[in-house]
């Protein structure tokens, strides 16, 4: 009896507290404006200046245009010019819930958001703890694809990534999802990407304005749709026609001969793979470069450092202070990008010979890896593919240029054996 009263008093207090303060409904998750870009709206981040940072009214205009064109995370919209399928977007968007026929909705928030973020900015809560960082979709740049370097990935490329995941990274396979669900997620990734690219284009356009525009973008259909949105959307549509043509690997080719030729190319001055992937193939060559996402932050920080010693006027001082805040909250610490260690047999973009062919032919968009096509012939690319595929099995002898070349074909069983011992 002695204990009974205090417990009920506690319950009463908690209940009344909850009732008075109230756990109102959580406000719907909003898209976040790209603040790094808003404060340095240009592709060349080392030539930024305080006066080009977007003022609050301009930021608000961009947010308003984006809302009109793309809706919200709970209610995405897409203009017909985007070529996106609204039904697929609805399945992927919004909070996780079941619809009237018991079908799961809100797939992006169930599976993707914790790394890639509501806005697709790669700034989800777990992002800072991952290496490599999750992809930021907003620049519309994707690494692992079957198209030429600057082209968008095809729909099938993104489906493959979702299906297989990206080995060697935190991106898992979503192979257990149904094809319909994967379709919906791919469509939503494209949506976030087109939205992000539109945002970048709008922000960078302020510099192109004439004085009589008074710092405000035109809100006509001609400007927003025809001039800004359509060129972005068309590149996504064009991806299907930009697939790299791969000639069949030469038939009746002696694998040992091909591997030897590939080795010669790897170390030679034409393909020059050795410069970055190292004489050992361990990825220990030129290794202090950055990918495009990190490089932007490095350039901004370099610019701010160079300003630090100067006499700054109040506007510049405010800009530098704003930058500090934005970089703290809206950007991940830049990391150098190591060239792939080719002896581990882990290939992020897929381990089929065809995948390696694409990487060597076109290089990797957003990363330092350059294109070899045009410099070496398709047949020579196949030789390099064969050599690269032999590297994980090249155990006989010391690492270095003089070691003998492994000539055993990388059979499927040995792949499995290699992975089990890893």
């Amino acid at each position: 009896m002695n204990m009974h009263l205090p417990v009920s008093v506690v319950m009463l207090l908690v209940a009344s507290c909850l009732a008075t303060v109230g756990c109102g409904p959580t406000p719907p998750a909003p898209f976040r404006l790209n603040m790094v870009e808003a404060i340095s709206p240009t592709a060349e981040k080392d030539s930024i200046a305080a006066e080009q940072a977007l003022v609050p009214a301009q930021q608000k205009q961009v947010a308003t245009i984006l809302l009109a064109m793309f809706g919200t995370p709970d209610a995405p919209e897409c203009l017909p010019e985007t070529g996106l399928d609204p039904a697929k977007l609805r399945l992927a968007a919004g909070p996780v819930r079941s619809d009237i026929v018991g079908r799961k909705n809100g797939l992006y928030r169930e599976h993707c958001v914790h790394c890639h973020g509501i806005t697709g900015d790669g700034l989800g809560p777990t992002a800072a703890f991952l290496n490599p960082y999750p992809r930021d979709y907003r620049p519309g740049v994707f690494k692992y694809k079957s198209t030429e370097r600057a082209d968008k990935p095809t729909h099938a490329d993104l489906v493959t990534i979702l299906h297989n995941g990206i080995p060697g990274t935190s991106m898992p396979s979503f192979g257990l999802l149904s094809p319909t669900q994967i379709e919906a997620l791919v469509e939503y990734v494209k949506y976030l990407s087109i939205r992000g690219e539109t945002e970048l284009a709008l922000m960078r356009y302020f510099f192109e304005l004439d004085d009589e525009d008074e710092g405000r973008l035109s809100e006509t259909r001609e400007f927003l749709v025809d001039e800004v949105l359509q060129p972005i959307a068309e590149k996504w549509v064009a991806a299907a026609d930009a697939i790299i043509e791969v000639p069949e690997a030469p038939e009746n080719l002696d694998l040992a001969v091909s591997v030897a030729k590939g080795k010669e190319l790897f170390y030679g001055e034409r393909a020059n793979c050795v410069k970055c992937h190292g004489v050992t193939g361990l990825g220990d060559g030129q290794a202090n470069d950055y990918d495009d996402w990190s490089k932007n932050i490095v350039k901004i920080e370099g610019k701010l450092t160079s300003l630090a010693g100067n006499d700054l006027d109040p506007a510049e001082r405010r800009w530098v202070a704003d930058f500090g805040q934005v970089l703290d909250g809206e950007a991940l610490r830049p990391r150098t990008i190591p060239p792939r260690n080719l002896r581990r047999g882990i290939y992020r973009g897929g381990r089929r010979p065809l995948d390696l062919y694409y990487r060597i032919h076109a290089g990797i968009n957003g990363a330092p890896m350059p294109a070899a096509a045009g410099t070496v012939s398709p047949e020579e690319i196949w030789h390099i593919v064969n050599y690269v595929r032999s590297l994980p099995y090249d155990f006989d002898g010391e690492l270095g240029v003089d070691r003998s070349v492994a000539i055993q074909p990388p059979a499927a069983e040995s792949f499995a054996a290699q992975e089990n011992t890893d």
Binding site: E44, I48, I65, L67, A68, R149, N272, T375
Partner: protein, 292 residues
């Protein structure tokens, strides 16, 4: 009872602190305006107030020239950190220097200033068929600024005995260039302001590239002089001026001149009489405009 009191306190604190609505930071869209705008964007027969394309209003052709002079002390160039392929790149202890500020010691001419027309109503010159040469030697780009017309072939060469890759930012071009070889790149779109050109194998290498549809782009020579010929005459043309080290927005270089009005973005508008050479004379660039 003391424990109970603490428990009550804790629960109170938790239930009160935990449930405020999440603060949304950053700019917030104007919902009403967005709804109206969305209607505009969805209607296919929207009012036709397209941006006015540059329409030829004059006839004849003229030229624009001038000379950029650096006023002040440019200081010493910074040696670059050369830590790859040193047998070639810093042969016999030769140092490589930052090329972003090149001032001719005798004439004080400022090189590598880019001047281009923002819009041109007409173009006189047909597309040049001979490729421009963009070469690299001793791990240095030989042209600090490459200016080409969209569609004009550029021969990207490598005169070094080692391989390079040439990576033009924002384009599709990041290509291996083997020792002593070259490859043709044809720019397929305008850059707006110049973009950076780098070599990922030798990260200190840096140049800029600017591609314009009409080809009305000039880069100042070692003595600071530039000339744009065959410009549409008798109608106002707006020019953009750029320098890699300019403190202006996007590298735009604005000058303070009594006769010509420059905007803070580094632009000026001028009408050139037909068959005339408009000479802007000596254009003084103060050290402060380049952050020195």
């Amino acid at each position: 009872m003391g424990l109970m009191a603490r428990l009550v306190g804790l629960l109170l604190a938790l239930s009160c602190a935990g449930c405020g609505p999440t603060q949304v930071s950053g700019p917030v869209a104007d919902r009403a305006a967005a709804a109206v705008l969305r209607e505009t964007l969805l209607s296919s027969d929207a009012a036709d107030d397209a941006e006015v394309e540059a329409v030829a209003s004059g006839t004849g052709w003229g030229s624009l020239k001038g000379r950029f002079i650096f006023v002040g002390n440019p200081g010493e160039s910074t040696p670059l950190l050369v830590d790859k392929d040193t047998t070639i790149c810093s042969k016999d202890g030769k140092k490589l220097f930052d090329q972003s500020l090149r001032v001719d010691p005798s004439s004080k001419g400022l090189a590598d200033v880019v001047v281009f027309a923002r819009k041109a109503s007409r173009v006189r010159e047909p597309m040049a068929a001979t490729p421009l040469v963009f070469d690299q030697k001793n791990c240095e780009f030989l042209s600090p600024v490459l200016a080409a017309r969209v569609g004009q072939p550029v021969d990207v060469r490598n005169s070094d005995p080692i391989g390079h890759n040439t990576n033009i930012s924002g384009s599709s071009f990041n290509q291996l260039i083997p020792a002593g070889a070259g490859t043709i790149y044809t720019p397929d779109r305008e850059t707006g302001m110049p973009v950076s050109v780098t070599c990922n194998i030798h990260p200190w290498m840096k140049a800029y590239a600017v591609f314009r549809k009409d080809g009305y782009v000039a880069v100042s020579a070692a003595d600071g002089s530039f000339e744009l010929a065959n410009l549409p005459a008798d109608e106002p043309i707006e020019f953009q001026v750029w320098h890699a080290r300019s403190t202006g927005p996007n590298g735009g270089l604005g000058l303070d001149q009594p006769t010509l009005k420059w905007t803070s973005k580094g632009r000026f508008t001028i009408t050139i009489p037909p068959d005339d050479i408009e000479d802007l004379g000596t254009l003084e660039v103060p050290a402060a405009a380049l952050g020195i």
